[in-house]
């Protein structure tokens, strides 16, 4: 476990973390971020994340990182899922039911085309 003893230690950890992130956002990698704050979970984010994991397993997809995050503040649209394919811009989907999650996985993550119907209006 790295112990932060000085400013340099902190810098090193920061750079390592940024490097890890760099790998995640390189082409061929996909990040799926599910909002798992209280409103997200209340709206069914657990089922959504399960549907996403199931889809990945059933279709044997690789190089996908599924992770959680807190509430982004757009509670009317929970559960919220952010999809980042490679170094492309983050696409934020709202009201992602398990069915919607499968559709997004099929069309966006696998197929590469954004599913406009679920995008949260800015």
């Amino acid at each position: 476990m790295p112990v932060v003893k000085s400013l340099d230690d902190l810098k090193r950890i920061r750079e390592e973390a940024l490097q890890k992130r760099q790998i995640k956002t390189s082409p061929g990698h996909t990040q799926i971020v599910v909002g798992m704050g209280t409103p997200g979970i209340a709206a069914g984010a657990r089922e959504t994340i399960k549907a996403i994991l199931d889809y990945i397993e059933n279709n044997k997809l690789e190089n996908i990182v599924v992770r959680q995050t807190g509430n982004i503040g757009r509670d009317s649209y929970e559960p919220i899922v952010q999809v980042i394919v490679g170094d492309a811009e983050t696409v934020t989907y709202g009201k992602v039911t398990p069915e919607a999650a499968s559709e997004i996985m099929e069309k966006h993550v696998k197929g590469g085309s954004v599913v406009r119907a679920y995008i949260i209006p800015a």
Binding site: V4, K5, L10, G73, I80
Partner: protein, 550 residues
Amino acid sequence: MNFSRSMVLVSSDPESVRRGADEIYALFEKEIAARDMEGEISISRLTDTGRPDAAPIVVIYPEAVVYGPVNAENVKEIVEEHLYKGRVAEHLLAPTRELSGRIGWLKTRKGTLPAEKRIVLRRAGRIDPENIEEYIAEDGYQALAKALTGMKATEVIDVLKESGLQGRGGAGFPTGLKWSFVAGTQSEKKYVVCNADESEPGTFKDRVILEGDPLAIIEAMTIAGYAVGADEGFVYVRGEYKLAQNRLENAVKQAREYGLLGKNIMDTAFSFDIHIHSGAGAYICGEETALLESIEGKRGEPRSRPPYPTTEGLWGKPTLVNNVETLANVPPILLNGGQWYRQFGTPSSPGTKVYTILGNVNFTGLIEVPMGITLREVVNIYGQGMKDGATFKLAQTGGSSGSVIPASLQDTPMDFESFRKAGVSLGSGALLICDENTCVVDLALVLQKFFKFESCGKCTPCRVGTGRIHEILTGIVEGRGTLKDMENLDYLVDSLTRISNCGLGQTASVPINDVLKYFRPELEAHIKLGVCPCGVCPMSAPVKEPAAVA
């Protein structure tokens, strides 16, 4: 949220919709998409423009240009001239001589786009809250490192004073000043306490920070410990926030593993550790002295003040008590400097404020915007208008104990100073937006029921007063009200405010006071005419005594 270059607002009140506002909205989307400007320009709806003569209205920020009446043929021209070439299409402007006061607000914000500015929430909803590496990657612990390796404790406090940060729990006390009080008190042992007992109904800003970015609070408390000379900290988390507690505990554990909590942090003489303390669901424990009693293991009842916690707090030692949002502001201020923080918000209330929006609006959730935004902007831009095109009637700021703000005050900039002048309080940042179907007496009754239940019973004015107000209001909504009740309410409100022991009683009277001040006719209609104008109150419960008609 994307930062847009421009913002287009299309009116959507019933009159505008009748004249084709929906079609215009769709055309704007189409025309903007046709020029590939989707990322730069956002389109929203606007309700309650007060300009039926010029409906449908189209307003474009940041220039605050008002076009109207707009028809389908004009859309292309507006998009091409204004949005694409940047020239105002003069001949399509709404007739200015008829500009009503209701959209005068647009002029006051000329040149500024009321965009969201995330300082406190910059990481929430993006990083993994259970991984310290992600936090460090996003500038985490840079502020602590800066403070520990290059700043004296007094310098840290000076930066805070310079920034003008005010407590975000509701009262708006200058944070730098509070820190200097604790720092200036001589004692071997001092404490830092984070008040995360966010029990004000409708407020959930702290929960979002705790769940989405728990390490920000841990870091800020460590900085506070360094600045005031404390070596121990407590986070008092509301009992219902189990998820927040778990994430905080996880954050503390990781910080300890990384040596960012514990003995000799970053090889300096400074040591600091944090405990997570769960509340048990009492509203009163959000009051700082009751909170301290609760941590000490006693019954959560407020203490008499003075002495204030800054001199005699937890176990009689000087204690710094800060709200979650206040603390979350500290690391970015330290990192970027006090002057940087002052560029946001208004001169008297710098910085940003997190608001939670709920009630009869199309969008509920939370936003972080610079201080000084108006209620009308919140409702129309961030709330995306009232639900079902209803009319805005009132808003309550800051949960149950907040002010009831009538539509006439909705153009007051929301900062501590302006609200104080207007005689209302900003509170903790919950914005309960109510439409015309809300009966204020019914609303007041619900609030009083809450206070009656939550009053700890230590002091008489609060224990008896909240119960009495509830009784009187129950009588009014059941049609048993008399004009004497109004006098009694005035008297009770006055007593509660002036002689209650703590904030609970003092603020329990705030909403009732506002109802008496701004909605007296509606209250009188209940009593004199025996009707509820909104049709909400029963008015016909078993009559125990004949209603006195004056």
